[in-house]
Symmetry: C2
Subunit: 289 residues, 2 copies
């Protein structure tokens, strides 16, 4: 069976859940449409989530056979990956003997950049007859709409920084680098690679404290965009209230993302936090390659 | 008077000196050819250097008029900028009234990326009749020769990482971003922006300690290249013994730079340190755009 993204949804949705607010938000959106969900929270990532609101089965990463059996038994044909996964936790695996059969393929999936990892996992599930969906396909409510969110508007200089950052991310995209960059006055202050957006923002905050940043506080934009060829079924860039905190600490003016290609965790809280902090949030149309 | 890089050297060489081992090394190479040098060590950067070996005048950054007067009085027509300059020190200025006339132009030079800063300074000096030279033009001994330095050879996988890193730096070059990237198994681990190479390497070391790097210790390359359009008269990438330390801490296999376009500080110590640490150092030919 191959993935057919145009196929109508049918049967309960299997959701493999990492951490953060998104997994339950997506489950709620899907359930609100009358579709059943079955959660598969991951040990080491999803602790503390109110998973008991839905049928659920805890999984260790690596328990792929267990997942496939349980998903099939629950009548699920479609699977969504959603939520944060700190990389070291990936190795807290507890495979049984049958899972071990998959280990060589999982290890293969882990080589190369994130994109390779994730598309390897997708093929593995699809070979077992499960269809992988993007969370934004089953719950489009989580995507950033085009335009300014909140009450703060970017200036013309901010727009120039956003354009500069988006052009850089486009140029870096073929190299499968992280998804974010900080630009102030058309000067790149930081580029995200594997450290992640939060740590990149913390670095900008430190560089500002130590006087290494010439731009005044309240100048500069955190620009985030999907990599050109990434599998959007489980790797869209995401922002949320914690991003606002990081941007404020870094002394930046705002956040720019790509409309329809960015997940916003807890959108209401996110926009309220941005407004309180006086930073803008804008979603721009996707650039064509 | 305009800069004419083909003009024969004449008269003593004025050297504006930042920190590190390079300024005196260049002075020694130039003096060994029988040319006089006059050092202008910068307060806040060049302390501790044995500047007393040559005629010298300490300068605060910003004392441009004082520099121009002293350089002219010493008969210097050519100027070299050499050595490290930590950005905050740039603001420890002590201008006199006449220097203040230059302040608007200096401030203008400070806008935009490093390249703009430096080429703005170049134009300013040239308008005053001084010719700016690259340290590598007056002391070509400081440049990395093509090929493997030291006794450790890069593997085929290392060569693939080097090529990947050089291609990324080429793509990022129009954005005037930092000059270095860390690549392991064709996966970008870190990109240098304004934090500098040493801090980028420290980040890789931390990411390794925290288990965020999948590649085994002893895999990966620090790749450094000049930006395509940068003014090489004072902004060539440089490496030295401290780079070896950073690369070792980061658990990488080696260092790759561009032959003839990279300055090596204390080359003998540098190569000896790399050999002791078992890391390779290779200079590859410059890629054509």
């Amino acid at each position: 069976m191959s993935a057919d993204l145009a196929a109508p949804s049918e049967g309960p949705l299997a959701m493999i859940c990492g951490g953060g607010a998104l997994p339950l938000a997506v489950a709620d959106y899907v359930a609100a449409r009358g579709r059943k969900v079955v959660l598969f929270p991951l040990v080491g990532a999803a602790e503390g989530l109110p998973v008991e609101r839905y049928p659920h089965h805890w999984l260790y990463i690596g328990q792929i056979y267990k997942f496939i059996s349980l998903a099939r038994a629950a009548g699920c044909r479609e699977v969504v990956f959603i939520g944060g996964l700190v990389r070291p936790s990936i190795w807290r695996t507890r495979p049984n003997l049958r899972d071990l059969l998959f280990v060589p393929r999982v290890l293969k999936a882990f080589r190369g950049g994130d994109d390779h990892l994730l598309s390897g996992m997708a093929r593995l599930l699809e070979d077992e007859g499960l269809i992988l969906r993007g969370a934004h396909e089953v719950a489009p409510e989580i995507l950033a709409p085009e335009g300014v969110m909140g009450s703060v508007q970017p200036t013309g200089a901010d727009r120039a920084d956003i354009d500069f950052g988006m052009r850089y991310l486009g140029a870096a995209s073929p190299f499968d680098i992280g998804q974010a960059v900080v630009v102030a006055d058309r000067h790149v202050l930081a580029v995200e690679a594997i450290e992640g957006t939060d740590q990149m923002l913390a670095r900008v905050a430190e560089l500002r404290t130590s006087g290494r940043i010439r731009a005044a506080s309240g100048r500069g934009v955190m620009v985030k965009a999907p990599k050109r060829d990434q599998d959007r079924r489980f790797d869209l860039p995401s922002i949320g209230p914690r991003t606002v905190e990081g941007v404020v600490q870094a002394g930046l003016a705002g956040i720019a993302v790509v409309a329809g290609a960015t997940v916003i965790a807890e959108a209401d809280k996110f926009v309220a936090a941005a407004d309180r902090a006086g930073i803008f949030v804008v979603s721009v149309p996707e650039r064509q390659p």
